[in-house]
Symmetry: D2
Subunit: 391 residues, 4 copies
Amino acid sequence: MDFSLTPSLVALQERTRTFVNDIVIPRERDPRRAQHGPSDDLRRELVGHARDAGLLSPQLPRELGGLGLSYVEKAVVFEAAGYSMLGPVALNCAAPDEGNMHLLDAVATPEQKERWLRPMAAGETRSCFCMTEPHPGAGSDPSLMKTTAVKDGDDFVINGRKWLITGADGAAFTIIMARTIIDGEDVGATMFVADLPTSGFRIDRELVTLDSSFTGGHAEILLENVRVPASDILGQIGQGFRNAQVRLVPARLTHCMRWLGAARRAHDIAADYARKREAFGAVIAAHQGIGFMLADNEIDLHTARIGIWHTAWLLDQGERAGLESSMLKVYCSEAVWRVVDRCVQILGGMGVTGDTEVERIFRDIRAFRIYDGPSEVHRWNIARKLNKAAA
Amino acid sequence: MDFSLTPSLVALQERTRTFVNDIVIPRERDPRRAQHGPSDDLRRELVGHARDAGLLSPQLPRELGGLGLSYVEKAVVFEAAGYSMLGPVALNCAAPDEGNMHLLDAVATPEQKERWLRPMAAGETRSCFCMTEPHPGAGSDPSLMKTTAVKDGDDFVINGRKWLITGADGAAFTIIMARTIIDGEDVGATMFVADLPTSGFRIDRELVTLDSSFTGGHAEILLENVRVPASDILGQIGQGFRNAQVRLVPARLTHCMRWLGAARRAHDIAADYARKREAFGAVIAAHQGIGFMLADNEIDLHTARIGIWHTAWLLDQGERAGLESSMLKVYCSEAVWRVVDRCVQILGGMGVTGDTEVERIFRDIRAFRIYDGPSEVHRWNIARKLNKAAA
Amino acid sequence: MDFSLTPSLVALQERTRTFVNDIVIPRERDPRRAQHGPSDDLRRELVGHARDAGLLSPQLPRELGGLGLSYVEKAVVFEAAGYSMLGPVALNCAAPDEGNMHLLDAVATPEQKERWLRPMAAGETRSCFCMTEPHPGAGSDPSLMKTTAVKDGDDFVINGRKWLITGADGAAFTIIMARTIIDGEDVGATMFVADLPTSGFRIDRELVTLDSSFTGGHAEILLENVRVPASDILGQIGQGFRNAQVRLVPARLTHCMRWLGAARRAHDIAADYARKREAFGAVIAAHQGIGFMLADNEIDLHTARIGIWHTAWLLDQGERAGLESSMLKVYCSEAVWRVVDRCVQILGGMGVTGDTEVERIFRDIRAFRIYDGPSEVHRWNIARKLNKAAA
Amino acid sequence: MDFSLTPSLVALQERTRTFVNDIVIPRERDPRRAQHGPSDDLRRELVGHARDAGLLSPQLPRELGGLGLSYVEKAVVFEAAGYSMLGPVALNCAAPDEGNMHLLDAVATPEQKERWLRPMAAGETRSCFCMTEPHPGAGSDPSLMKTTAVKDGDDFVINGRKWLITGADGAAFTIIMARTIIDGEDVGATMFVADLPTSGFRIDRELVTLDSSFTGGHAEILLENVRVPASDILGQIGQGFRNAQVRLVPARLTHCMRWLGAARRAHDIAADYARKREAFGAVIAAHQGIGFMLADNEIDLHTARIGIWHTAWLLDQGERAGLESSMLKVYCSEAVWRVVDRCVQILGGMGVTGDTEVERIFRDIRAFRIYDGPSEVHRWNIARKLNKAAA
């Protein structure tokens, strides 16, 4: 057993931290950081700095300009990047692009990779992933998918409604998941890629959301006769859910990594405040009521980090790690939530103002207990896996 | 023992509910409901409807146009009003005005009441309460107050900085708490009233805050040589903290009442959704994971309500109820928080969007664990009271 | 609304407290208090004292020698009695006898009452209630009942296995719940009464249990051709589950009352210790870490008490209060558990020794989250009731 | 980074599991397993089997007959041993002997090791550790120590009172911590070793305790003029607290390892039951309410295990790991508590009976949140370390 980080990984961690502190954090108050994450202008500026620092798209293979990081290495670097909500944007490892790049790298054809992955790897483009649908469509239960892709000659014609589509505004292309109908028969879900803008793909409305750091925000999308040639299918027809798993299991863990960094940031801000703010005769960090919260934060962050490393290592060993990544997703999403909620409480009145990044992190991080599988769905899946294994 | 509501109270509760459902809730999507609560225009429209319905300022004595409600009656009516975040605004029983009116009614001179209370009772004016200061001034520990009022002839000249001042923008007057210096001697904190605008009172900035339902938002205030004549002192010189207690103990309980209504609203929205939204073969309310959350919501709401009623009854008996109101504030603020957080979770992706009121209630209600005494300060006060009583 | 206790109730509360302090608590170290509650000798001694004090069977009608208490009055007196685990034994209001007496009073014939209820009301006899069965029989789900009563002439012949039967050892009679077979047809569950000892009723074994305060302990019972004449049926044939509800809804609430007293006792012991035990420069009650626990205890006890009073009042109004009693059972059983667990923690090493009553209360109280419906079954019932009401 | 276990460690884990399943668990119902752990007879029988299996004292150096395990290896083997409460007794790695052997190995002279460590390493003797004192002496705050050792010629004469002394009954020797007085001057705490029985060392009483698995139980000890020659001092005079740290930091982690095994055992029993016990139309594991508990158990066990491994690895690197071991102690003691409490709940009525080992584990494991530093003391230490590090 070995928990040590290699010297080169420590160096990369340090470089990432320096980059975030020196380049990214100073831009958090940039007015181009709007209601829905950074403007494309600010995003490109950040990406440019990351490129100069040799930190762009570190998770991608070297032939795509990345650093070819393993999952364990990603755990370390993504946490460091996540220390600012703008950090993953700068390093081009934010959701949903990071997951989409991973998916393309895993299942796209060489031609598809050149067309969609390479420019995105370079930080030139963004993308979105059209899977979730409004009630009564596919949410936590993807089997309820209502969107259809009907074969029409060599094309597929897609109709449906998607929502909570992150980053649709400004995306260069989209991956669309749809039930596929060939000759009147439902052959299962398939992933299609469509350049944007494209005829029939319409942002019906931008959603007002609790969070505000995802580039491009979240939109409701209307798909009206979107025509996609068969050559732009991602993977195989009817393999959409299998592909989704390729994307989701690691994506859920990379979310943990980034949010861990954000929670650590909130903790550092709150702890720093607690060591300066006086009340009732001492700095509040010296009162046990606050001290215990700081200790609990540290415990939550510590256990989440070690757990992430373990599951990352499993993925590096080529294991599917479905059970472990579910457990870590539940644990981590709830642990970082506890941490950030305590930070708000420690900051008192300041905690509910935008005077520190904690207020934004608090709003941003809430949804992590919901997306990539709500805690309830994961708990149920874990139980069923355990019951099945015991049978 | 008797938990029954009188027929007239039940009728008033019903009238309030009908008013909120028919008049208030339809205006929740009014564009005049901006980032910082309703515009003055919308507020006046709502107040007008409440006046027509005979529901304006129900907590005030009849000679001021109110309904002369007891605390128990307030518990019932304020909960019903709080079912919409705009309800207390309409009924003119929202914070901070409700507390300020209570304070003026309790300690102001007849002339002061005519000047400041009567117009506010009629819903014509709003007010603010300048007590909290930024670090290193008075927050949870009021003894750290830095703002001073120096006697100068028949006037007092106030200097200092206040923040998290709710409703300052648009207020017709302010109550200012300041350490009072007479002939170079600190004679304790005093409350001063100043009409707004007034020379030297400046809104330094509007704060960006997590919540968005308080009329006028929250501001940081600069007080530079604000001159207040001695006749505009509220209560006695040096009795500021005593007056603050007159305001705070009931204000903390009326907050519980209103937030209970808001939490019930969130619960109704989430429960309604859970009974319609299908996933994994049934509506999600029929899955135990969600069902248990609905049950826990109901338990939290129920116990909070009964507890509020009890403390309200104690206040109606003329008791100070300092211990009980502290306990209820902690319990209720944490119970409604649990409820609303569960509602977000039940709603899933929709919970973090503005598509329902739950997202707003979630943001609005977080601060209740902090203001009027953070849970930590109350817990510590409760412990000290118990220890002292046992000594 | 009125939360006041009548002067006569306050006087009765005071008398009960005095009795518990002066007569009962001194006997807690009596060696006749064995592994399974007090010996019959000790029980009779305690009952005698309660009779002398005019406190025996206070929940029963005056014609049976009781005080004819309402539910609200029971709430006050049972809490006072519960302050010692021996208190309800002394007052003859402990489980399962209290529930059995309530059931007999509600559904027995005059002859049955004379035969079984009157001697028990006088504290001369004890009883047991044979309902729960071992796996795969009736537990939380009573529909799984395996015990049968087959009509044979004017008698019924009962066969089956019951367990967790509290107080079987030493009981003068038992109530047995069994599926009833007449002419080969299952006509539903029926309650039978059988004097003990009786042929075919055998205590197969005494269970080793976490708790140790229930008189007679808990046993596994073998029923082999127990013959009961039709005249000894309690209520109507096939109405067993309906009768069980008559017993269970109030029994669940009277449990809350008694356990609240026990939790208050634990809290008083822990708080007293915390105000004497020094560590790190002060008594530990003066450290916030312990102070917060004391405050949380007080909040839990307070909210549980008010909630119990409310449901008791509903029962006094003749309401069924099924939803409220379920909510209170969950809330109260979990609140008192939190309290007693905190008490163990506050006492530190002493908390896990028998040097204080807290260790016993901790063991005794754990099962309350399980019997009379586990929290999980109640939560599910609450959810279903709410869903049904909303439908 | 590497989370893999070496093949030899996996083999040792497997051998330990087999040993526990085949040899130890069948003896859990042995009547010689009394109120206070196994009788010496049963202990020797178990130790003999472990010796035969090559598993005795695996944590000790090979020259003492052990397997020379690293901390990571201990983590794996101790968890496997802890799967039965008798497992660590069999392997001679139970508290307090395991910690005492570690201490002797670290600080004793070669002569002392021959005299006290070697026979204990062979499983022939047991020991106790006299540190904790009753109120108002040394508990969580060791600075309150009242026991004194006064130099008298070449000897020290010890007087005082100790309690919660585990394993005193039957111990071959004891380590005594006492404030040391030389020529009237307090020179700090020192550790003394005394063979038992010895004049003046008296077991004042056996404590009744919640737990029942520690060999020899827990006693209150009276020390009256216990005379110890200077040669029997362990380590240096005045270095008692430093030595205690040598013992406590690893002892706290080895406790985590063993309790993790016990919690896993409880979970396996409860999960197995949940997959067989039917209620409401399905096995209860198939109801989400129970399923979520099983999932939470798995998450708690998983995160605790990974965290233990990490701190064990730090110790193997020669780090002091004071912060990490404190964090893990708090996390692990609370996580295993949650697990076992859920197991009781899942088992329902059976959970509070001795019909499964869960009831015993529940009683045994409660104290782990208290000894080796209560959660509250650790949280406070963690906070202070963090505050200090940030200063």
